[in-house]
């Protein structure tokens, strides 16, 4: 609960907090913790919820998982309920409108930034490092990923395929490309 309350800015902001709290309680070892983050990233759902559930389970079984998940969600729920009440009340004030005139474009920027950060792990071969990027780009850039990225864009723009279907298909494609 304490973790849910103090993590501004999404799942990754939570990781250091979770780590500190867990260490002070002795619930998990450092390497177990790294495993949990990896699993939280690889399973669907908010990373913060995933890792909280996992830590809770390891510390105290299914009930622990349940308590940890609830704990991480409740501060959000309460705070957002309060905020949304005011938000919709003041939505039409000119000052407020002007504030969002400034905020909306930066949010678009932040969404693009999220794409850039995912691209960094998706398009580059981690083990190769970035030093050869100019002399030998093919050794660093993962061609298969660029191919899947291109396909997903074509699917979205031209054929208007549902994003959920795109995620499923790209997962299958990843598996097929690996076997080939």
């Amino acid at each position: 609960m304490k973790i849910g309350l103090f993590s501004f800015g999404g799942g990754y902001a939570m990781i250091p907090l979770i780590q500190k709290e867990i260490e002070s309680h002795g619930w998990l070892s450092a390497s177990e913790f790294v495993d949990i983050i990896a699993i939280a990233e690889m399973t669907p759902g908010p990373i913060a919820v995933n890792s909280a559930t996992f830590v809770g389970y390891r510390a105290a079984g299914i009930l622990g998982g349940l308590v940890a998940t609830t704990g991480v969600a409740i501060p959000s729920l309460v705070l957002i309920l309060i905020v949304s009440k005011f938000f919709f009340k003041f939505q039409h004030y000119p000052a407020n409108k002007m504030m969002f005139y400034g905020i909306r474009p930066v949010i678009v920027g932040l969404i693009f930034t999220a794409a850039v950060f995912v691209a960094q792990t998706a398009f580059f071969k981690q083990e190769a490092g970035y030093s050869n990027i100019l002399s030998n780009p093919l050794s660093v850039i993962d061609i298969k990923s660029i191919f899947i990225f291109g396909l997903s864009l074509i699917g979205l723009v031209k054929f208007k395929i549902n994003p959920i279907l795109i995620i499923i298909l790209s997962g299958i494609l990843g598996l097929i490309l690996k076997i080939l």
């Binding site: 849910g4 309350l5 103090f6 501004f8 800015g9 999404g10 799942g11 699993i39 399973t43 669907p44 759902g45 908010p46 990373i47 913060a48 919820v49 995933n50 559930t53 996992f54 389970y57 299914i62 998982g65 959000s76 705070l79 957002i80 309920l81 905020v83 949304s84 938000f87 000119p94 000052a95 002007m98 969002f100 005139y101 400034g102 905020i103 909306r104 474009p105 930066v106 920027g109 932040l110 969404i111 693009f112 930034t113 794409a115 850039v116 995912v118 998706a122 993962d142 990923s145 660029i146 899947i148 990225f149 864009l153 959920i164 795109i166 995620i167 790209s170 299958i172 598996l175 490309l177």
Partner: protein, 195 residues
């Protein structure tokens, strides 16, 4: 009463679906919200989605939970908020509990890594496409375009925390409001960036 129950069930199912397919953190949710909540159900408008993420990112807590709660509240008040939050959390809880019980070496399985190597680049495509879509209603003039580009540069190159970027955007909007009534009335008469 009956129709409200139906709506709540619909909200729950929609967010359960979103929770089941959000890979890699809060922003990866945006393409799904855009499709399911904006386009299919028409519960919120494209520009409201951007506002939702502004608030979700500025408040403590996971962005995915914050935005689900917020959208749920917008659709159907407190009950909607609770149902949407439960919906988005439940898939995580179930999947993680199963993994924790059965496969503790889950992430080392080559098949899982292969599936993921396919999903990750597709997520890049999905998020960028969603960003382009919301930019159409959120960036209405040159000022907006400059702000968007500036925010990308500040985060990617200078590693500035998103919360400061949002505060900066708010400050610029308010500064225009206080310093230049002329451009304010021009912006607002064009519908701001819509509302």
């Amino acid at each position: 009463m009956k129709s409200q129950l139906k709506l709540l069930i619909e909200i729950f199912i929609t967010f359960f679906k979103i929770g089941s397919f959000t890979f890699g953190g809060g922003y990866a949710m945006i393409p799904l919200i855009e499709k399911e909540v904006v386009e299919n159900k028409k519960w919120v408008t494209p520009e409201e989605v951007v506002d939702v993420f502004a608030v979700a990112q500025s408040m403590p807590g996971a962005i995915a939970i914050n935005s689900s709660t917020f959208i749920g509240y917008k659709i159907s008040g407190k009950k909607g908020a609770i149902v949407a939050t439960l919906g988005v959390i439940l898939p995580s809880f179930l999947i993680i509990t199963l993994i924790a019980i059965f496969f503790s070496k889950f992430q080392n399985a080559p098949a899982v890594e292969a599936v993921f190597s396919g999903i990750r680049p597709a997520i890049v495509g999905l998020i960028s496409f969603a960003a382009v879509k919301v930019s159409k209603t959120s960036i209405v003039d040159r000022t907006g375009l400059i702000l968007a580009i500036l925010s990308i540069l500040l985060v990617v190159i200078f590693d500035i925390q998103p919360i400061f970027i949002i505060l900066g955007g708010a400050a610029i909007g308010l500064a225009i409001y206080h310093l230049s009534p002329k451009s304010t009335s021009k912006i607002l008469s064009n519908g701001g960036n819509k509302n």
